[in-house]
């Protein structure tokens, strides 16, 4: 079970630079948890960040800055309040980074035959919505396109589409230019984490029925 589909270098670099919005950050983090190859590249890009940091022309600190910092060195670090996590009994959703598990999760919503969506509430509002998508065996997911970027990371099960087969850890990026026709594997449910920007455009009657739900 090896990972075949990775985020591109530019996305990994934006992750390393800390310039992704929080929804996309979650999607890339989920892939990184599964993928040593991309983790290594992110580490490398963090070294690039280190180099850029040392090369940036320094901006002088205020005259009392060091004294102010030194005065605080004895302080105990702030303790972090424990935040709510995935409810008991639902921690079995595999492959989710721990920090995502601490976010608030909505209920599983039925959106189409054998397709359920479960929103993840990000700590801050952004352009990207994040949700879990659970689809039954053999489900032919609706033909759709996007007005923005959609990132998908497989957590469990798998699906196939034009670009090949996607299993746990695999990452898919869709944008305006790509039409997807994913078909879920016949041997079990597929659970994905999806980070979606903009509006989804679904084709057909079922699509129009599904639209209000997917808008979350």
């Amino acid at each position: 079970m090896s990972i075949q589909h990775h985020p591109d270098d530019a996305l990994l670099s934006a992750f390393a630079g800390g310039t992704l919005d929080s929804g996309q950050h979650v999607a890339i983090a989920t892939h990184l948890l599964a993928c040593a190859r991309c983790r290594n590249f992110v580490r490398t890009m963090e070294r690039v960040g280190g180099s850029l940091l040392t090369d940036v022309p320094p901006a002088p600190m205020s005259s009392n800055a060091f004294a102010a910092v030194e005065a605080r060195l004895g302080e105990a670090p702030p303790s972090r309040p424990v935040t709510p996590s995935l409810p008991e009994g639902e921690t079995e959703i595999p492959g989710l980074p721990k920090f995502v598990r601490r976010y608030r999760f909505g209920r599983w919503n039925w959106v189409a035959p054998s397709v359920h969506v479960r929103p993840i509430e990000l700590p801050e509002p952004g352009q990207t919505r994040v949700f879990l998508l659970r689809s039954g065996p053999g489900t032919r997911l609706l033909q759709h396109s996007h007005t923005g970027v959609e990132m998908t990371c497989v957590l469990a099960g798998g699906f196939s589409q034009e670009q090949g087969h996607y299993g746990p850890g695999d990452f898919d990026l869709g944008d305006e230019s790509i039409d997807h026709h994913p078909v879920v594997d016949a041997d079990g449910d597929c659970i994905c984490l999806v980070a979606m920007q903009g509006e989804l455009r679904l084709a057909g009657l079922l699509g129009r029925l599904m639209q209000p739900f997917v808008r979350l």
Partner: protein, 237 residues
């Protein structure tokens, strides 16, 4: 901390700065033997202008803080890194006051987390960069909703996974040198897009608007720059 409407203005200003600032490209002087470079690049070199980024003593200083709570070591790290972190924050669009605060906060975290520093997974500069970056992400989120910060937590999840790799310290050291050499070989334009993806909070679309070039061009430039960087890094091992 940045209103969407102001982003473009800030970006344009940053672009102007980047343009005015082109000679600082020379500061990518590598402490190691250099690969052949373009003549015009050579002409802009100003050797000895600044300290090498990853001089071994930064790591030594961090270890001294971890081992002995060495305040002199901390003072030296502060003097070098705090103004650079502040500049990094300002480049990311953080106003000067907040940038100063985040730089101070970064250095306090350097002090507190010194014991967690593992020269095996990151060089000193890269480590301080990630601390600063996480604080910036969290500060940005906090201003949006007043929430608790989490960016550093994921870092920790990954660290615990990878920290045990054999020879990691050696690899890290080589990596930092390779990274610097690879950056040295990027064209000025390629370096600029790489910098953009580090210093800007903005989406590619905003960068495109700021640079006045189509979105597709930004994407392809970024892809080319990254491919080149990956090639350079892979080729050196």
């Amino acid at each position: 901390m940045i209103q969407p409407g102001r982003r473009i203005v800030i970006l344009v200003m940053q672009q102007a700065l980047l343009c005015l600032d082109l000679p600082r490209r020379t500061s990518f002087a590598s402490p190691m033997p250099k690969a052949p470079r373009a003549p015009q690049r050579l002409a802009r070199m100003q050797p000895g202008k600044r300290e090498p980024a990853e001089a071994p003593h930064w790591e030594v200083l961090i270890r001294a803080i971890a081992a002995d709570q060495d305040r002199d070591a901390f003072a030296r790290l502060f003097a070098y890194f705090a103004p650079r972190v502040k500049a990094f924050m300002q480049r990311s669009g953080v106003p000067a006051d907040a940038a100063e605060e985040l730089a101070q906060e970064t250095m306090i975290n350097v002090w507190r987390k010194a014991a967690l520093f593992d020269a095996g997974t990151a060089g000193a500069a890269a480590w301080i960069f990630t601390i600063a970056r996480n604080l910036r992400i969290d500060a940005y989120r906090r201003t949006q909703r007043g929430i608790d910060a989490t960016a550093a937590e994921f870092e920790f999840e990954l660290e615990t996974d990878d920290a045990m790799q054999p020879d990691a310290a050696m690899i890290a050291k080589q990596d930092q040198t390779r990274v610097r050499a690879a950056l040295d070989q990027l064209s000025a334009e390629q370096l600029r897009v790489v910098e953009l993806s580090f210093f800007e909070q903005q989406a590619h679309a905003d960068i495109a608007a700021a640079l006045g070039i189509p979105l597709g061009t930004v994407k392809s430039r970024l892809r080319l720059a990254m491919n080149r960087l990956r090639d350079l890094l892979d080729g050196q091992s």
